[in-house]
Amino acid sequence: MDPVIRVENITYTYPDSERPALDGATLDVAPGSFVAVLGSNGSGKSTLAKHLNAILLPDGGRVLVKGMNTTHEEHLLAIRRCVGMVFQNPDNQIVANVVEDDVAFAPENLGVDPAEIRRRVDGALKQVGMYDFRLHAPHLLSGGQKQRVAIAGVLAMEPEVLVLDEPTAMLDPAGRREVISAVEALCRERGITVILITHHMDEAVRADRVVVMDRGRIVMDGAPADIFPQADRLRALGLAVPAATDLILRLNAAGMDLPVEALTPEACAAAIGEALA
């Protein structure tokens, strides 16, 4: 299948900076996949995300969204509509005082018919499990709920790709679980392509593919089970290793023989149980 997003050797330097934030990044994203992008601070992962829906335009190379070049002005709305973006702070993404009015913002901008907006708003809120809160005021919701409203606000555009730039960075563990489960369901059940930029290894573990960035380039790219066992390399890049993988690697170093593919706590516990039985 053709990639829904194609990033070709892009470079980008922020106007007030000397060092390039992106320095030859190349990436193809297959439709319907769940890609996690990892990297330490300043590795360029947020900058890459902002190139995917033409918020930033590359200095060199090009970004194609469904074949549309992001530098072509006439494609701007089509690209933004196809690639929805969710940011870190849910408070700064919500426009209206009522949940359902906020979700309606994007389709209203697109000039969608009122009855169709209603259908999309209800659908989007149901997909993230926030339908019962549709008449609430956003500032009275929890962080996880607010972030799910923000996701619904993007879903109402009916995008094919959802880019989430550290959506859980400001949330407590319960909120993080809520948001990541909702995002995973969107990918698995609705076939929406998800690109998740994150700091949390346990979130990346759930992806189909993990991309690791360092100094504006993509340095590792593969299935989670291939990437995470390379603990030394990840640590050298300033990243942690999922707790389960860390434990398995240490036990293996101490003489056990456990499968390094067990990335989640559940899989890890099962593997240890099996080895001890």
Binding site: N53, I55, R80, G84, D91, N92, Q93, N109, P114, I117
Partner: protein, 268 residues
């Protein structure tokens, strides 16, 4: 503590008054205010009070709530009363002690001015009590939409209002947080002379401003990502529709004006 501030004092409810189209309520409030200034008889005031009472009864707004709203205006009300009471010229002297002179005309005028101010403010309170700030913004936008032809950015103005309302609780929360942070580091915000206290506010305002700008920046980005490109070509999910009850409300409003004009004519 700052969280206790409520803005736009809206009492949610599901009465016929709450369900009226916001445009109807806005227009009728204007009609009511104009009518109030046409009143020059006691009968007229009685009619206005009766109308206000009827709306309160239908919308389940208790008199206590209205009085609470009037409390900050006590000074203005007393000032109006005193001014009219003591400084109205006239020969029908009611009471005289040294240089103080109260005339019958003065007394009459003081009472009527106080009534007028209170009725005026109560009327507008009823509007905000029964209409959510969002509905008021929406109603205003649509009432002013003919101005779009004169290139007045009506939609943008209403969006600005809507966003301002949305961010008020956030900014209050943030102020609270910064205040705690500054207090934790020994800032004294509550004692001292007025200039000292004003100076102490500076370390509060600067972080608040900085973070507001950052918020605005992020919000603009998020709006762009959601395909915002101005008011043109936008549709609305919620369509305002006038219903039968709006016609009834307008008819009652007309009746009020007619009644006031009649009483004015008759001099009752």
């Amino acid at each position: 503590m700052l969280k206790d501030i409520t803005l736009g004092q809206y009492f949610p409810g599901d009465t016929p008054v709450h369900r009226l189209d916001p445009r109807t309520k806005l227009l009728l409030t204007v009609v009511y205010i104009v009518a109030l200034f046409m009143v020059n008889t006691w009968g007229g005031y009685a009619l206005c009070i009766a109308a206000l009472g009827a709306v309160m009864a239908v919308s389940h707004i208790r008199p206590r709530a209205l009085l609470k709203g009037l409390r900050p205006l006590v000074f203005i009300i007393v000032f109006t009363a005193v001014l009219n009471l003591f400084f109205t010229a006239g020969d029908d002297v009611l009471f005289r002690w040294r240089f103080i002179k109260i005339t019958y005309t003065g007394l009459e005028r003081a009472v009527s001015m106080v009534l007028r101010v209170m009725l005026l403010v109560s009327g507008t309170f009823l509007l905000t009590y029964t209409t959510s700030p969002l509905a008021i913004t929406d109603g205003l936008e649509r009432l002013l939409s003919p101005l779009k032809k004169l290139r007045v950015p009506v939609y943008e103005l209403s969006l600005m209002m809507c966003i301002a309302l949305r961010f008020i609780p956030l900014l209050i929360e943030e102020t609270d947080r910064i205040m705690s942070a500054q207090k934790a580091r020994g800032a004294d915000l509550e004692t001292g002379t007025l200039p000292e206290r004003a100076k102490a506010l500076l370390p509060l305002l600067i972080p608040l401003f900085v973070s507001s700008f950052r918020r605005a920046d992020e919000l603009a980005l998020a709006m762009e990502c959601r395909c915002y490109n101005g008011g043109e070509g936008r549709t609305r999910m919620k369509q305002l529709r006038m219903a039968g009850r709006d016609a009834v409300a307008f008819a009652l409003g007309g009746l009020l004006v007619a009644g006031i004009l009649l009483l004015r004519r008759l001099g009752i």
